[in-house]
Structure formats: C-alpha cells, structure tokens
C-alpha cells in the first residue's frame, strides 16, 4: 500500500512538473504554497523564491499596471469567496518582464466544512497562439479591406451543386441579402430568370469544360431589382486541389449601362433629327405647291365663296409649313441660342403635342391662367418648349383617371416669370421628392427617368429654378422661375 502511495506521489510529481501549463496552489491568504516547473519557466523565478510569496508579486513586476493586478485580484476574490471556478485570459509579466498572455483557470479549493482553503491557478501560455492568430487575422482583415474597397464587386462561392457556401465581400451590399439568409440557398436565387443567358447549367458546363466563364448578364437582388453585371465564374479548388465548387465574381456595371443608354438616347435623337429633316423636306414640297397654287387661284375671277375657301386652303397650308418648321427645329438639337422667349406662346405651342400622351377615354381638362403681355424671359425657345412639353406630358401621365391640369404664368416683382404646372394626379411620396430630378428616376412602368433631369438641367442653365411640391393622391405642382430678359437685350 505504502509503495502504491509513493508511486502515486511520483506520478503526480512527474505529471505536474512536465505539464505544459503553470500550476499554482494558493492558500487562503493568497500566498503560493505550491508551483510546478512551468511556473518557474514562465515567471523566470526559482522555486524557492516563489514559494511563500504573494501571488501578485510573483506574477506581476513592480512596473506592471495596477489595473491588470486589480483585475486578477477581483477574479480570485470571486473564485475564493463565492467558490466559483473562473476562466479568463489575462496578461502577466513573464520572464524578462515580457508580457505573456495566459489563459487562466482559477478553481477554489473547498474543505469538507465548506470553507475555502485556497485556490488552484492553472495558466496556459497562449501568447504565441494568439500572435499567430493575430497575424492571420491581420491578413484576413487586410484582404477584406482590399476586397471591400473594390466597389461594385460581389464575390460568392457555391459547392458543386450550386448551393452558396460563402457570401463574401460586397455581396451583401450588392444583393441586399444577409449572409445568414442566403447561405446554402441555391445560386439560382441570384440569377435573373428573365435573362435568356442566365442558364446555370450552361454556365457551369462552360466552367467544367473551359475552367472559366465570363459574360455580361443580369443578377437579381433580394427585393427583385435587376442589376446588370459582368459575371465571372471559376472553378473553386480546395486545399488538396480538388474541384469542390464554383467562385462567382460579379461586377456591377449599372453606371456603364446608364452611360451607354444615354449615348444610345442621343444617337436616337440624332437619328430622329435626321428623320425629321427628311420628313420635313418631303412635306414642304407638296405644301408649297398647295399654298402656291391656292394663292395663284385666289387672283382668278372666282366667286367670293371659292376665294374664301382658297384662302382657307392657303392659310392651312401655311400652318402646316410652320408646324413642320418648328418640329424640325425642335428635333435639330442645335446649340442653344438665348434670346427673348414669350412663355405664354411657348406653352401654347406645346399643348397640342402634349395632348397625344393623354390616354384614350380619359378626360383631362386644361385650365390656363396666363398673365397677359408678360415680359419675355431670357432663354432658348426650343429648350424651354422641351421643358414645358415634358412637364405637361408628366401631368397627363400622372392622371390615368383623368383630372385637371392648371397652367399659370405670372411675373414676380419684374424680376422673373413664375410658371406653374399643376395636376390633380397620383402625386409623389415625400421621401421620393428629393430624387425626382435625378437621372433615371421614374415612377412610370416604361419610363426612362430622363425627362425631369433634362428639365432640371435646362432650367439650371437658364439661371432659373424648378421645384416640385406633391402630395400622394392629391397631385403635383411644378414651379419654374425664369429671369426676365433685360430690356436692353430685348430686341
């Protein structure tokens, strides 16, 4: 039996001295009554110096911060007084006063009478582990910063079945999905099903065959918005080089698309200008003949009735001439020529054109309240006509059930003309008002969202202002202020 005890003691001794952790036994006065070899190694002190000393003096050098010591004290207090086992990480002054990060376990030693006899402190030096962890973390952090600063990119990974296993940098922003909600969902969730090229099987087949796939396509956000992207898909190889999934990199090309669309629009306008020029030429010739012949016939000896009719034919032909001319000028997009513009006439001119945007069987009443002989403003006639036309068309389109468009012109203190176009339509919510003049803002299903931004630019270039007031369900009012032309320029 005695032999067994001796053997057990030796085993315990070996165990404690060769343990990879520091083991310290404190008495109830917090003095060290036992420590193992690892403790000596950790503190750089000898066994005889440690035993009997207060634990704080051993673990913390003179210069150690009081705060750190107090934290340890508090933990030990809780452990001994409340007899609770405590796990925590704390820094001590190790060998050569170098700070060591230790993962501690404080366990109270409780006697049979439930009195605390002391505490056992087991400390595992995790300084190196944490340092390694930190550098990995730093690299990870740097990578994350680099990738997240590459705006408009989303990077996500799927397994071989196409289920999303990683939803990384930019993906949450681009798609509006929370990582936790999209993980393990099929990658088809992000593909715009309406886009013909978005056949996942085809994409993955291409990657399997050629190792890579790149295509301009469209993806879809959580809320159903379609984003034009360049999608690159590569094989994802695991650490052993085995093909274990697919890496998707999507680059948002919305801005480029907008630019392309604008370019397309201006090309279209240019084409329209050419078309109008050709059309005007074809119309002008026969109209000239009609008006010329009617003018010549009027000089013949006909009855008054015939002469009146000929005069009517002649004046109507002239009207067509003028109309063609204005359409031609309107579509020609010539350089802006600033001069006196009579706003009442400009509005009158565009009204018949705007009426074409009225839906059939919808009753829209136009109420005009024009200030008679209002001073001309300084501007480019065709550009201002474009603004008025856009705003009146907007008014028509915002009243699918019909309503009233009220157009008012008035002068403000002889400084500027005030033009108001008011409708009784659907209105715009307050939170969206700030965006209405932004390019590509639209509330119409097939709208391009360019009209109001063009209006805004034109008015700005005329040193004027354009404002919108609106109430949902009640209607909108556009108010334009345009400076009058100075009298000396009014020739």
């Amino acid at each position: 039996m005695g032999l067994v005890i001796k053997e057990t003691k030796e085993i315990l001794h070996d165990l404690l001295d060769n343990a990879g952790v520091a083991v310290i036994y404190l008495d109830v006065n917090e003095n060290i009554i036992f420590c193992n070899k690892k403790t000596e190694k950790l503190t750089g002190l000898k066994h005889e110096d440690i035993l009997g000393a207060n634990w704080l003096k051993i673990l913390f050098h003179k210069n150690s911060s009081i705060i750190k010591q107090d934290m340890f004290k508090a933990v030990l207090d809780e452990c001994m007084r409340h007899k609770r086992e405590k796990d925590f990480e704390g820094v001590i002054s190790g060998i050569d006063k170098n700070e060591r990060l230790i993962s501690w376990n404080f366990t109270p030693v409780v006697a049979d009478n439930n009195q605390t006899r002391g505490a056992i402190l087991i400390g595992h030096d995790i300084t190196k582990i944490r340092e390694a962890g930190n550098s990995a973390k730093i690299i990870d952090e740097t990578l994350k910063n680099i990738l997240s600063s590459l705006k408009d990119y989303a990077l996500y990974v799927t397994n071989l079945e196409g289920n999303i296993t990683y939803f990384g940098m930019g993906s949450e922003i681009m798609f509006g999905w929370d990582k936790k909600d999209i993980i393990f969902k099929h990658v088809n969730t992000l593909l715009d099903a309406d886009n013909a090229g978005n056949n996942l099987n085809f994409i993955l087949e291409q990657v399997r065959l050629y190792g890579r796939f790149e295509k301009e396509t469209a993806l879809i956000t959580k809320t159903g918005n379609v984003i034009p992207v360049i999608l690159t898909v590569n094989k994802f190889l695991d650490s052993s080089g085995k093909h274990s999934g697919y890496i998707f990199i999507a680059k948002d090309i919305t801005e480029r698309k907008k630019f392309e669309y604008q370019a397309f629009q201006s090309e279209k306008l240019a084409a329209l200008g050419l078309l109008s020029a050709g059309m005007a030429h074809e119309i002008n010739n026969p109209i000239l003949v009609i008006s010329g012949r009617s003018a010549l016939l009027m000089e013949e000896n006909f009855s008054q009735k015939i002469k009146d009719d000929l005069s009517l034919i002649n004046s109507q032909a002239d009207r067509i001439h003028k109309l063609v001319d204005r359409i031609l000028k309107f579509s020609q997009k010539t350089k802006p020529a600033f001069g006196p513009v009579a706003v009442n006439e400009a509005i009158e001119f565009i009204l018949p054109f705007a009426q074409y945007s009225n839906l059939p069987n919808v009753k829209v009443e136009i109420k005009k309240s024009f200030e008679k002989d209002i001073r001309p403003v300084k501007g480019d006639l065709h550009q201002l006509e474009e603004v008025f036309l856009n705003l009146v068309i907007n008014a028509y389109q915002s009243m699918p059930e019909g309503g009233i468009i009220k157009i008012t012109t008035s002068s403000f203190e002889n400084i500027f003309a005030l033009i108001q176009i008011k409708d009784t339509g659907i209105g715009i919510a307050e939170e969206r008002l700030k965006d209405v003049f932004m390019p590509f803002f639209t509330m119409k299903k097939d709208g391009k969202g360019l009209g109001l931004s063009i209006c805004h630019n034109i008015i700005k270039n005329h040193n004027g202002t354009i404002e919108l007031e609106s109430q949902v369900g009640k209607g909108s009012t556009f108010t334009i202020k345009l400076p009058f032309i100075p009298k000396e320029e009014c020739t």
């Binding site: 030429h281 012949r293 010549l296």
Partner: protein
C-alpha cells in the same frame, strides 16, 4: 430687258409653280429638272439669275453651284430647299458661293419677296 431666270427643281409641281409665280412677277423663266441638265442649259444660254434646288437626283444643287462658280463668279445663284431654315446648310451654301437662300417652308408671298430682294441688283423684267 426681261430678267432671265433658270429654275432647277426635280419635282414637277414645284418647278411649274415657281415658273407660274415668277412669270407673274415679270421674269422670263426657263425650267429644268436636274443638275446636269441645268449645266448644259447654262452652257448654251445666258441667264440673269438661277433658282436652284439643293436636293436633286444625280449631281446635287451644291455641286451644280460649285460647277457654276468654276466658270462664273458673278452669276447670282439662289438656293431653294425643302429642308427649311437650316444654319449648317446655309453656311455650306455660302461657302460654295451662293447668293441667297430660300426655304420652301416659307409662305408663297414671302418666297417671292425674298427672291425679289436677292434679285434686286438684277435688272427686272417689265
């Protein structure tokens, strides 16, 4: 002496109208329908003024003008066009040496007034 006008326009109703309108104003008018034909006529006969359409089949009005200017710097040539008032076109015709520009989109009375204005230096018919 009657002022002789050569009218060049490919559209028959237009050139007949111009013929009638100008004759009524006392001009002696010759009409033709193409640029090549106009140049031939100009070689054989002399005119006081040419009213020349820009858009013509075959050689265009601008080329006819250029051809005329190669041999005659002073013959008044007035361009007439269905394109209406077009700054670029006006600049180009001036560059080629035209003496005036009339848009077919003008009211008839104005066309005649404008023509007369351009032709004021040319001796009028009776």
């Amino acid at each position: 002496m009657t002022c002789k006008v050569l009218v060049v326009d490919d559209e028959m109703p237009v050139r007949n109208l111009l013929n009638d309108l100008l004759k009524r104003e006392g001009y002696k008018v010759t009409i033709c329908s193409a640029g090549e034909e106009a140049l031939e006529i100009l070689k054989k006969d002399s005119f006081d003024i040419v009213l020349l359409d820009i858009k013509l089949p075959g050689i265009s009005g601008l080329e006819v003008l250029k051809n005329i200017r190669d041999t005659d710097k002073n013959l008044p040539v007035i361009m007439i066009t269905g394109f209406g008032y077009n700054e670029d076109l006006i600049c180009k015709t001036k560059e080629f040496g035209c003496s005036g520009y009339i848009g077919k989109n003008m009211p008839v009375a104005q066309i005649i007034t404008t023509f007369k204005q351009y032709a004021k230096d040319v001796k009028k018919g009776e």
